[in-house]
């Protein structure tokens, strides 16, 4: 029988006097809050803050359209479809496929705008007041998998490597860290790992598993041993994007408490993730259909009703 909860064991990290920290984030407001909260809590221990630059603008949009169109409708598939169904059906399929791809792109673009608005509403004031605690400015990184980045990290030789929203890191980089490489994941691992997991949780109407996870890094996506996991407090009327922002804020607080625990006590309890348990989602899986389903549920007050339902027993 597979146990319901992850197996727990103890991990002992090396003793040290130097608990220096390197932070790696993306560039959205939630990431800036993450970096500034850590600087507020740990001040001078923070030796570097790297911000990963995501390719954006028109070239990124074209690439998204191309990759989605190709993933759903490859040329070979279409040739086969034309042979079996004729010109009229093939034309219909191309038009509907193109329209679905464009709609997905549109949904993703709108979602980004809504996400930014939700983060402004929730974090803007706090981030303004946190700026006074900044001990370093973000340094832009184009490729966190590069040797140059690895070299930079080796030079700083941090005890903690704290990441939010970055890519997967290689074994070399993780092994370079003297103490703990910790990732904050906006989802409840092992049930929801990978990209856009808040949306996948909402898509599955799985509010009890809407959560944040803080885990030690390994080379898998959000697959390392779990340090802490919790559910966010929500406000009736929250949008899906507000839920996402609250999950991230919660994760940041969990990560800060994990770092404090490790500084105070080098032996910590971790919960192993069992391979094969839960699901890992990739960015390309989130399409317009999923986003439209989530939007429809929120429009129909699903969140408010579900919050109320969970509280009543």
């Amino acid at each position: 029988m597979i146990p319901k909860d992850p197996l727990q064991n103890k991990v002992t990290l090396p003793e040290t006097e130097d608990h220096s920290i390197v932070i790696v984030t993306m560039g959205e407001l939630r990431h800036r809050r993450f970096a500034l909260r850590i600087q507020q809590e740990f001040g001078g221990l923070v030796k570097g803050w790297y911000q990963i630059e995501k390719p954006g603008g028109a070239s990124n949009l074209i690439e998204k359209i191309r990759s989605r169109a190709l993933s759903d409708y490859s040329a070979a598939d279409l040739r086969r479809f034309y042979r079996d169904n004729g010109l009229r059906e093939s034309a219909k399929r191309i038009i509907s496929g193109g329209s679905e791809a464009l709609s997905t792109i549109n949904e993703l673009r709108n979602r980004r705008a809504r996400q930014q608005k939700a983060e402004q509403d929730i974090f803007k004031k706090e981030v303004e007041s946190l700026k006074r605690y900044a001990v370093c400015s973000p340094e832009t990184v184009e490729d966190p998998g590069s040797d140059a980045f690895l070299e930079n990290i080796r030079r700083i030789d941090p005890y903690f490597f704290l990441s939010l929203g970055g890519p997967l890191y290689g074994k070399k980089l993780i092994e370079t860290i003297r103490g703990a490489a910790i990732n904050q994941h906006a989802g409840r691992a092992p049930d929801y790992r990978g990209s856009d997991t808040v949306y996948w949780t909402l898509y599955h109407r799985d509010l009890t598993r809407l959560g944040a996870t803080v885990h030690l890094m390994n080379t898998g996506a959000d697959a390392g041993p779990i340090l802490k996991r919790a559910n966010p407090s929500l406000c009736p009327g929250d949008t899906a994007e507000a839920c996402m922002a609250r999950v991230v804020a919660l994760g940041t607080e969990l990560l800060i408490s994990c770092v404090k625990d490790i500084i105070d006590n080098k032996t910590v309890t971790v919960f192993q993730q069992i391979p094969g348990q839960g699901m890992t989602y990739t960015a390309s899986q989130l399409d317009g259909r999923v986003l439209r389903c989530v939007a429809r549920d929120f429009k129909n007050n699903w969140l408010d009703n579900e919050i109320e339902r969970l509280k009543g027993f």
Partner: protein, 294 residues
């Protein structure tokens, strides 16, 4: 808004909703709490409970004033509400249950809330059947309506069966310890008496242990903070279910203290009781509309 004294009742302010509290009350996210305080600060002044009482003694407040009250002594109040309140120059009041604060007994309702998050209620339903529970009844309502020491012990048995020792050791962390509450006291907060174990001592089922529950908590407050409390907070204040001799009990042992109750009313006149208004989790503008409607 009219020049009245509104005491606003919260339980917790946190980014996290713990499974121990989800079934008990709403946790207010810090950004929402901050938005509420910003709106309130535009409408009136923040005052301590003593300042509010003082204004009533002088015939009532000159302008709208608000006091912020937190029940149950949860640790996240200090972590998340305190910094926001300091930004607005507000000092608050917090009520504590001595057995939770001293890590002697865990909140019986919080155990039920946790059981509801892990499919433990089916075992609890079975355990409650000998006490008269029938399928389809609300467990929350049944346990409050039929409260007894036996009922608490049955909840504890199911909780122990469904949880491991590690969880039972760490769960007290949701409540603040005396050392941490002392920090609030040093910042001018009122520390109020919420009984030893949050049993429904205001209702017929438990009014017999009213005195003993408050005195046990009072003694812990004096030991921990060197000063007695000025406010006794009634657990589960359900106005329609208050025991007949409740105020007599309070008058007999409460001394010159005030009893804090729950009612959607501002405090209008000076008496032995003060009303606290439960605050919904909503944006500040919506909260003001709600308060204006009272």
């Amino acid at each position: 808004m009219k020049a009245k004294w509104y005491i606003l009742l919260y339980h917790n302010v946190s980014w996290e909703e713990s499974p121990f509290t989800r079934g008990l009350f709403d946790t207010c996210p810090p950004d929402i709490f901050s938005d509420q305080l910003e709106h309130l600060s535009r409408e009136g002044d923040f005052v301590s409970l003593n300042q509010g009482l003082e204004s009533l003694r002088g015939g009532g407040p000159d302008r709208t004033c608000f006091s912020i009250f937190f029940d149950d002594g949860l640790a996240d109040v200090r972590r998340y509400a305190l910094p926001v309140m300091e930004q607005y120059g507000a000092t608050g009041s917090i009520s504590v249950c001595s057995r939770f604060m001293m890590r002697r007994e865990f909140y019986w309702r919080a155990k039920m809330s946790y059981l509801s998050s892990i499919d433990g209620l089916r075992f609890l339903r079975s355990a409650l059947k000998p006490l008269g529970y029938k399928t389809g009844m609300s467990i929350k309502k049944f346990t409050l309506d039929n409260f007894s020491p036996d009922l608490v012990s049955r909840i504890d048995d199911v909780f122990t069966l469904m949880t491991d020792e590690r969880l039972r050791k760490t769960m007290f962390g949701i409540f603040d310890s005396p050392d941490s509450i002392r920090l609030l006291k040093e910042k001018g907060w009122d520390i109020c008496n919420h009984t030893a174990a949050h049993y429904p001592v205001g209702e017929e089922s438990s009014v017999g242990i009213f005195r003993e529950q408050y005195e046990e908590c009072e003694s812990a407050i004096v030991d921990a903070f060197g000063q007695p409390s000025r406010f006794w907070v009634l657990p589960f204040d359900r106005p329609g279910r208050r025991a007949g001799g409740l105020m007599e009990q309070f008058n007999a042992c409460g001394g010159d203290r005030y009893m804090a109750l729950v009612e959607n009313q501002p405090v209008k006149t000076l008496s032995r009781t003060i009303n606290r208004i439960p605050v919904p989790v909503c944006r500040g503008a919506q909260l003001l509309r709600f308060l204006k409607s009272l």
